[in-house]
Structure formats: C-alpha cells, structure tokens
C-alpha cells in the first residue's frame, strides 16, 4: 500500500482546518468520542454548529486565537492508500512552517476563499509549491456557498490564478481547479448537486487518482547516503561490514559497480540486506544495509553512487535559500549545512539576490536575508557535498542550515 503526502495551505479563515475536518468526517476517520468532544468544545465557544477545525488546532494558543500556528499532521485511509496531510499555517509570520510542512508533500492543496479571490497568500503558497517542485497542485475555491455556487465567480478566480501562476509555474506541474464548500461537504467526497456546471471530480476522487511517485526510481541516478557503518564484531558476523542508509533516489542491483564518495574508490555490491533478507535489488525510499566486495574507506556522511553516475564533488555551491530564523543570514558568517546526513561547515560568500515573497520584489546587492525571505546564495564549503541540482533530483538536492551558536535549524537550501 502506498502513502500520499499532502500539504494544505490557505490564508487565515480560508477554511483549511474545516476542509480537513470534513475529509476525516466523510472518510469515517473521526470516532464518536472525538465528535462528542468537538460538539462540547463548539458549544463552549458559543457556536451553533460543530466546528470541525477544532479537530486539528491542537495547541491551546491556536484554539484561543482560532488560527493554526504550527504544522499538524493528520492521517486517514481510503480503499486505495494511506494519506498524510501536513496542515500548514496560512498566517504570513509562519511561512517557514509552510515550507516545512510542504517539504515532504507530493500534492499541495491551495485554498482560496471564493469571496476574496486570489490574494497575496495565494501567490506565496503557489510559489512555495513550485519552489519545492511539488508536481500536483489542487486549487480549491472554498466557501462557494457564500457566493451562491456561482460559476462565473469560480471562472474569474481561475483566470486570476493562472495570470499570477504563469511566472513561476513548472512545465511538469499539474494544476487542477475545483469549487468546494467544506462547511457543507460540497464536492469533497462526491460531486456536488449544487454545482452541476462543474464537470470535474470531487476532491477525494482527484486525490485518489494521483499516481505514487516511485515510478521515478528507474530514471533517477542512484544516491545512497551512508548513515552508519554496521560492524557487529560478534562471533557469527566477525568480519561483517555493512553500510546502513535509506536510498535517496534511483535503484541498485546486486553486482552493480559503485563509487564511494568522496574517496572515489570503486567496488561491487555484494549484498543488499533488509534485516535478515538478502535482496536482488532495492529502490528509492528503502532503508537497507549494503555490503561490498572490497574493504574501502567509507564512513557516515559519505555516499555510494553507481559508476558513471557520479555527481560533481563540490566545495562551493549556489543555492536558493529560504531563511527561517529571526536572526538574519549574513554575508561572511559561517554555518553548518546538512545535506542528507552529511554535515559540513559553510561560509556565506555572497547573497546574489533576494526575493520578498509577499510582494515578489527582487533586489540585488543585499547583505542579509531575513525571516521568510528567499535568496540566491553562494557558499564556500569546509568539506565536500554530493548533491544534485534540486530541480533535477529533489531527493538529493536540498539541505538544511544549522546555526552553530544555538543549534537551531535556521534555513533550507535548494541546490542550483
């Protein structure tokens, strides 16, 4: 059974939490005691309907303010698969959480309030979806009940959206539009009778139709970041030396020739182990242990690749950065970057440009990046990283930035 990971984004009050509550409700994923708790909580707030959004706003501060502050993860199953939703905050201060929540998603649902239409937030959400190379974007025009389920209003929003999205749209991106009402469950699980003019599928039908992404395994290069060297030194496994890791991309077969990075030594795959099973091949996202025919120098943070598919060994990289900390990123400052499981020191040698995500204004000659800003940055590295271009191979093209003064994760980078 596969898993589909979804990120939802919308402005404050676009009805995101209600939509998720509705999806859970309609797929019978909410149990009776939780519905009872929702009723009680809704009554306590003086509402005369069951507020499904209370289901996901898990923190005291969120319920107080009626907004989503932090990413929440929600789960449900259908006959086809398991779904994981990262419900990300729409409030502009929390853009960093939106990037975080969307980083694992293969589908992004962008919510627009039918009354307000395309806004600054919509642009931001779409930009982030594109930045993260999310292939499937579903634009859900919500609260259709408040515009009398009007087709013209829907079409107006649709054309406004395409006007703004053209600039950042990726060629391989699927964008689907759907009119919904989360509050009344219109077009969520079954097609709405109130909007006969809409001929497309319901939201859940659209999601069920999205293909899993492991099809890419055959075309992408094999990238195996080594997490750990397993050497039991027990009597039974006295000479055993295996490399444990999770395949980032591509696939590997027993007998394939591999190059270890950075040593560039070559050997042959002897065994691919998954616990006590010996496999003939394994592909991306699988956690395995690989043993080689020869004893070569490999340690944590190194990478195994197939001979002939080697990425460039870099001590200098350019990347698009999304900054996530209140302390600005400054030219000349040294951070730690973590690409997969490989950590190296990195000094900011230049900030080439900066994009204000809320306005799309781009400026050059800047010397710092502030919270929620995006920029193109050049790094000088203390050691090698084995990255691919993010657009070509997202699973091996991103890194996080760690501030060594306070150990916080302060930014994310997408290798150019």
């Amino acid at each position: 059974m596969d898993i589909l990971r979804i990120a939802t984004a919308g402005s404050v009050d676009d009805g995101k939490s209600t939509l998720i509550g509705r999806l859970l409700f309609e797929t019978q994923s909410i149990t009776k005691d939780k519905i009872e708790a929702l009723k009680t909580a809704s009554q306590r707030k003086g509402l005369d309907f069951v507020d499904l959004s209370l289901l996901t706003d898990g923190l005291i501060a969120e319920r107080e303010q009626g907004i989503t502050i932090d990413v929440a993860h929600i789960y449900f199953n259908t006959p086809t698969r398991k779904y994981i939703i990262a419900d990300t905050p729409g409030h502009f201060e929390y853009t960093r959480n939106m990037v975080t929540g969307a980083s694992n998603a293969s589908v992004s649902i962008i919510l627009i309030d039918a009354r307000n239409g395309v806004g600054e937030q919509t642009r931001r959400h779409f930009y982030i979806s594109s930045l993260l190379e999310i292939k499937n974007v579903v634009v859900a025009v919500n609260k259709m009940d408040l515009v009398d389920y009007d087709e013209n209003r829907f079409n107006e929003i649709k054309s406004d959206f395409f006007e703004l999205s053209d600039k950042v749209r990726k060629p391989n991106q699927n964008i689907t539009f759907i009119p919904i009402s989360s509050l009344y469950g219109e077009n969520i699980v079954t097609q709405s009778e109130k909007m006969n003019w809409y001929e497309g599928n319901s939201l859940l039908q659209i999601l069920e139709g999205i293909a899993p992404e492991d099809i890419d395994a055959e075309v992408l290069p094999f990238r195996f970041p080594v997490q750990q060297v397993i050497r039991p030194k027990s009597e039974e496994y006295h000479d055993f030396r295996g490399y444990a890791g999770k395949i980032a991309s591509g696939q590997i077969n027993k007998g394939d020739l591999v190059t270890a990075l950075p040593s560039q030594q070559i050997s042959k795959v002897k065994e691919i182990l998954k616990y006590d099973l010996s496999l003939n091949s394994a592909h991306q996202t699988e956690s395995v242990v690989i043993t080689l025919e020869d004893d070569i120098d490999i340690s944590r943070g190194n990478m195994l690749v197939k001979v002939g598919e080697q990425p460039e060994l870099k001590k200098q990289i350019d990347a698009k950065i999304c900054w996530m900390d209140t302390d600005a990123m400054k030219i000349g400052k040294t951070y730690l970057i973590q690409h997969g499981v490989n950590r190296v020191k990195a000094k900011i040698s230049a900030i080439n440009s900066r994009l204000e995500i809320s306005t799309f204004e781009e400026s050059e000659n800047v010397d710092e990046l502030n919270l929620n800003q995006i920029g193109v940055v050049s790094f000088k590295l203390g050691g090698f990283v084995f990255s691919d271009n993010f657009e070509a191979n997202p699973a091996n093209g991103a890194f996080i930035i760690i501030d060594e003064f306070n150990n916080n994760t302060v930014g994310v980078g997408f290798v150019l």
Binding site: Q28, K32, D33, G58, S234, Y237, L336, A398, V412
Partner: protein, 300 residues
C-alpha cells in the same frame, strides 16, 4: 468505507532511518519501553535497523508500580530474549525521596508523576536522546510535535519554539543538559501498528486480547479493579469479558468490552470502533489541553 488494510512498508523504512540517525547523532540514547504495543513495535524496528548488530541502546522503563503484572513479565522476557540491557526506575522511589507527591482522591494516579522519575533517570544516566512510541494520530498536541523534539534541562516542551523539520533531515544538535525526545513512529496510526504487529507476527502482552477480568463501572468507562484505585462504596466489581486497547498504568487505562481474542478480530474491531484509542485514557480526560500541559512539563 472499505479501507485498505495492508501495512505501508514506507513507514518501516522511515522509522528505521530515524533510529539509525539517533544512534549516529547521539552519545547516549535510550529506548523508553512500557511493554505496550507501540514500544514493542519500536523494539522490533530497532532490531531490524541495526541487524546483524545488536540494538545499541538500553531499554528504559519508568515503572509506576501500578502496572499490569502481565505487562511487567512480558517486558522482562523480551529484554532477556534480545539480550538488551533493561533499566527500571520506580516512581515509588521518587515519592519516598520526597520528589513527587502521591495524588489523593477518587482519580489518584501516578501517571503524571512518571515525569519526575523520567527526568531523574535521564540525569542519572546522562541520556541525550530518549526514543518513544508516541504517534501523532493519538492526540492533537502530539500531532504538532516534531520527530526530534528538543527539551530543555527540565524536560520541557516549548511548542512555539520547535525546530523546522524539512524533508527527512533531522537536526539532533543540542547543548549539554538538553535532551531530545525521538518519535520514530510519529506518522503511524493505531491501525498501522496493529497491521505491523500482524505482518511481523510480534508477541504482545495477553491483556490486549479478550479475557475475563474483575472490573467496575465509572464515568461510562470500564475500570479494571485493583488495590491501587480508590473505589467508592457503590462501585462494585463484577466479572466481564474485556480487553485493553492501550496499555498504561492500571489507574489511568480503561478496558473495552470485547470478544476479540486474536490480531485479526482486533483489527476488525478497530476499524469499526466508535471510540478513539485515547478515549480509553483517563489521563487525557482531565481537560481539553491535558496532553499539551503534561508535555510542557516534561511528559512524553
């Protein structure tokens, strides 16, 4: 809706990746083991993650002294079988040392007191990472917590200051004295855990299966009768066929009326259940934010 009942293997790959990151990024990790199904799942995952090597960290159990005897003997047996070190620390000792105060009244429980003993154990052994079996689907404050959840010297969780977690990159860098709570099965649901137990054919304590037990009714829930619970006169114990969906302390875990005596019938029952898993946890019923408040104070 007829939902899919297979176990998604991607969840196992993800959990194994996380466990290996713990072993690589920390000096002294520990696996918090309660004898419940989630921690049994964790032990299995750890066994797989480091094979053919041994699990490179001890199992730690904070015992309230009010646990089901079936769980305790299961715990001891499993540790012996795996050849892993088992560290047990008792809430009783924290109470005797005057560090924790026994609750009184009808709902007295040592559940919240575990935090004191846990923090002392972390300090005693200088653990820098504690692996736990909490899942985000259990409770809404848990739904907001990271996989690597950094806690300060007092074990406190600050929901507003969580590190962003991007892609699968985990940042376990901490200062001396801080520690990280790690949740490898964050993205699993109760159903996923049961499907995994079935797929892996894992042994679990007998109290998960239907059995006859002395119980009494309180607040619409079925309580297991024990000397640790302060019953009122009209709470009269009687025999009933029940099982437990979640295994905590005897003072905070309610039973469910059930005939399910094997994994398949348990799975069917969960699919049709009208009550959520933590609906049987008396400790969560204290207030809407019961879990968040306990977490802020260092609870799991």
């Amino acid at each position: 809706m007829n939902i899919n009942k297979q176990f998604p293997r991607a969840l196992e790959d993800e959990a194994i990746f996380i466990l290996r990151e713990v072993a690589a990024q920390f000096e002294k990790p520990a696996l918090l083991f309660s004898g419940g199904k989630d921690s049994i799942t964790l032990v299995r995952l750890a066994q797989k993650a480091f094979f053919p090597g041994k699990i490179p960290f001890p199992l730690v159990h904070v015992d309230t002294g009010h646990n089901f005897p079936e769980t305790i003997s299961f715990r001891d047996e499993l540790a012996k079988q795996l050849g892993v070190e088992l560290i047990v620390r008792n809430v009783e000792d924290s109470i005797k040392a005057g560090k924790a105060k026994e609750e009184t009244g009808k709902y007295a429980s040592r559940n919240a007191l575990q935090t004191v003993t846990l923090l002392d154990t972390i300090e005693e052994f200088k653990f820098d990472a504690c692996i736990g079996g909490a899942r985000r689907d259990e409770e809404k404050a848990r739904a907001k917590e990271r996989i690597f959840s950094v806690r300060n010297d007092f074990g406190e969780w600050d929901a507003k200051k969580q590190r962003p977690e991007l892609f699968d990159m985990l940042n376990g860098k901490i200062e001396m004295g801080e520690n990280v709570r790690v949740f490898p099965i964050s993205n699993w649901t109760e159903l996923d855990v049961w499907n995994y137990i079935k797929a892996e054919n894992l042994a679990i304590p007998s109290i998960y299966f239907a059995h006859e037990r002395e119980v009494f009714d309180r607040d619409g829930m079925i309580w297991s009768d024990s000397e640790f619970i302060n019953k009122s006169q009209d709470e009269v114990p009687y025999k009933r066929i029940v099982r437990f969906r979640t295994v905590g302390d005897m003072t905070c875990t309610a039973a469910v009326s059930s005939e399910a005596d094997n994994i398949d019938t348990i799975i069917e029952e969960i699919l049709e259940a009208e009550i959520s898993e933590r609906g049987a946890r008396i400790d969560d019923k204290r207030s809407e934010a019961a879990m968040e408040k306990r977490k802020q104070q260092g609870y799991f």
